[in-house]
Symmetry: C2
DNA sequence: TTAAACTGTTAAATATATTAAACAAAATAT
DNA sequence: ATATTTTGTTTAATATATTTAACAGTTTAA
């Protein structure tokens, strides 16, 4: 039975992200081409041990530790901006913090509403407490029979059982960071 | 500071030796050429991770365990015939069991005396207890003022402080396995 | 002894990893 | 806003790993 092959790319990228260094910085430090690092991180090459070692020495981390490295997402604490999970796109895009969330965890979502985006006249309802804050643009928020107009820096908090609706009536994207507990979908 | 690069070859060879399988057997099982295995074991190539993985899967052992593998000689118990340490060659060759022997360990040596080989008229003396057994050929052994002629199966045991001398007066190689405590050189 | 089946190693052919250089996109600076 | 760096990616050129095939040495069998 052929063992499933380990995902070198993710491991290396994780290491690099944790240290906040660029491919080129690491490349320079390890005397390896940045292209090689890119190819490795995307699993588009089958690196030689010597090359991998040069890179790991520059991190630095031992080969042994590298392969023993915990790569599970279970206890992941930091999610880099490009590691957010896309759980929906289109006129509204959703980037979630974390995966397979437990019921006791908040579902943090970075939401981007393009001009005209609307969650719908039929209103949303679900079993959660929901909060959010406007990062860019403006948002029309309806909760129950009240409608609010929010700008950058404004925030909201309500029980999601109350029918609610988001509409971007402005001319530019509206970006919101929101949180639901428990996760709503 | 560039980490000293790990000796992949020895590790793989050790694994293979422990399992008593040939390069070709392992090659077949792992779908890798026997040449590749030979080159890797002799550190004459810089194997790709994929290739190494295929081989390790066939052993089988995980990459992680492979690099975490204890490769120290400290507690080594079995020394294969090709692992004996050559501590002298020429008319007499010495192959020792183990390396960096402690004073409380016996120095076991496989000795081969070519026809005419002679440890010398000046006689040997050192602080040890010495024993041996003839495996092939014949040997003239002098200990103190006594000279003995030994054949296959014969053995000896004496205090090495007593001047002694080995001479192969026969026409074929004489092979002896000997032991000194403590090690004499 | 001789032959046959192994052992590990090596050389040339081939496949592929790695680099150097150019690219587009994003961040930073002016 | 417009450059200017810096980001990661990709392509073609080059270096090198891997295979195929042959070699020589050892072991096993007859």
């Amino acid at each position: 039975m052929p063992e499933k092959d380990i995902d070198i790319g993710s491991r290396l990228k994780k290491l690099r992200d944790e240290r906040n260094i660029s491919q080129r910085q690491l490349a320079k430090k390890s005397n390896v081409s940045n292209a090689a690092i890119s190819l490795i991180e995307n699993n588009k090459t089958n690196p030689s041990l010597g090359l991998l070692k040069k890179i790991l020495d520059a991190v630095p981390i031992s080969i042994s530790d590298f392969f023993a490295m915990d790569v599970s997402e279970e206890n992941k604490v930091v999610f880099r901006k490009n590691e957010l999970i896309e759980i929906g796109s289109g006129l509204i895009s959703y980037l979630q913090v974390g995966q397979n969330l437990k019921n006791n965890q908040p579902q943090m979502i970075l939401e981007r509403y393009k001009p005209g985006a609307d969650t719908g006249k039929s209103m949303l309802t679900h079993e959660s407490e929901e909060s959010g804050l406007i990062l860019e643009g403006r948002m029309e928020l309806t909760v129950g029979d009240q409608t609010y107009f929010l700008g950058v820096g404004d925030a909201y908090l309500f029980n999601s059982n109350i029918p609610h609706r988001f509409r971007n009536t402005g001319g530019i994207d509206c970006v919101i960071v929101s949180a639901c507990t428990p996760p709503s979908f």
